[in-house]
Symmetry: C2
Subunit: 232 residues, 2 copies
DNA sequence: CAAATACCTGAATCGGATTTCATGTTTGGG
DNA sequence: CCCAAACATGAAATCCGATTCAGGTATTTG
């Protein structure tokens, strides 16, 4: 009967989180407007400054209506982060199609990541804030992205494009981390004369990063020229 | 504002933030107890779950007393982050003393960073949260660390230990980012069978990271003879 | 010791948030 | 055209935490 209703529901139906009821056209549109407003408000104000009132006002919707679609403030935030995750990965895989070599594809994916961050600087801050609002969702976000990198790296190692001595998982996380911090420093923090964020990475920085990555990944002719064993 | 005043302050004056008055022995002790309690509470609960009441209770101090020493919740948080910054950098520079080569020193600094993160996992989460609580302080934190890296890299380039084609600033931020995310993934997220965080990085990960960094930094034999490594 | 100074206190103030709910409105199928 | 069902609403209940303040206690000084 009622006991396992909630647990069984795994698939993303067009369902109100709060009530479990299906939505009509009208309801669907309202839900969408709420998500779009949430995107703006969370991006501008951060999670704790944001409020349900601000979101519903922005959406042009009554306060009480919110709870027909989402259980809580945290719940809509999580939905938003998952949506952004979809969009980042889309931006990355889109950038990768058409790349010729394996290594070329890695580079392109990276570029796609930066394009997204540059186009939606505030949005990417939302994702980072998830670490403190909803850690599980952030893990999901990172893990999904890293999975793509990792399998790409393995494939590139198989073809000999990438140093076989690298650990794919570690390398994938290293690349993510680089991307994050360089994006934060040179896209989110940087402002031009008019206080506008740059549309893309400074060429000097981009070149420096490319060199760094190419160095790191390139298959090395002799596998053990460097100090192979750490102390002890 | 008042914040930049404090930020410029590199050295800890014995001054109450709220009143600007110097402290006696007793006052000094009280201030210290507040900071220590804040460290525990912010680490366990995060900024917004933490409250002045919880901090003063933990410190065994009256609620009102708090405001004799700090202007606000944000103010004590900032003081804490600056304190942690000092400690991280100390951990890094301590690890670097005694390193023989330039490149060796870079590696040691990195290890120092991880040692701190492994020893105080929750504390490093506090630093990261500063991005959303007090962005200026976080910039200061990162910038101070990066400055050290950057000048180290320049020196290592001068001696030929590090690829001269790398941009030192970009490279420094890339290294920071790697360290952050790998620390988060393999130290903060990882739990052993008893739910305890690991005391140090998994050897596989550490080795993978070392290889990655060595690849990235090593001066490339593009025009000269094969890699000449300092073996020591 | 007396007065001044420094330090301490927690009840009360104040503002602001999430969430509920009783009631009204719209929609769509028969 | 009627009436469930779905959707919408905002005032009010409820909660919570930062900050203030009027009135203490300890410590030092003359």
């Amino acid at each position: 009967m009622s006991m396992s209703d909630e647990l069984v529901e795994h698939e993303e139906e067009l369902v109100s989180s709060a009530t479990g009821r299906p939505l009509t056209k009208r309801g669907e549109a309202t839900r969408r407007r709420l998500l779009e407003a949430a995107e703006l408000v969370f991006a501008e104000q951060g999670y704790h400054e944001a409020s349900i009132v601000k979101i519903t006002e922005r959406a042009g919707i009554g306060l009480g209506t919110f709870y027909l679609y989402f259980d809580s403030k945290q719940s809509i935030f999580e939905a938003l982060v998952l949506d952004l995750n979809r969009r980042v990965r889309h931006s990355m895989s889109e950038a990768m199609t058409g790349a010729s070599g394996r290594l070329e594809a890695e580079r392109a994916g990276f570029a796609g990541f930066f394009r997204f961050t540059a186009e939606h600087p505030a949005l990417y801050r939302v994702v980072r804030e998830a670490e403190f609002v909803s850690p599980e969702v952030l893990r999901l976000h990172y893990t999904r992205i890293v999975e793509g990198y990792e399998s790409g790296l393995r494939a590139a190692q198989a073809t000999g494009d990438v140093d076989r001595a690298l650990d794919p998982e570690t390398t994938a996380w290293a690349l993510m981390g680089m991307g994050e911090l360089i994006g934060m420093r040179f896209l989110l923090w940087e402002r031009d004369a008019d206080g506008r964020p740059p549309a893309e990475l400074d060429p000097r920085v981009f070149a420096g990063m490319t060199r760094f990555i190419d160095n790191a990944l390139a298959s090395r002719p002799s596998t053990s020229s460097a100090t192979e064993e750490e102390d002890r």
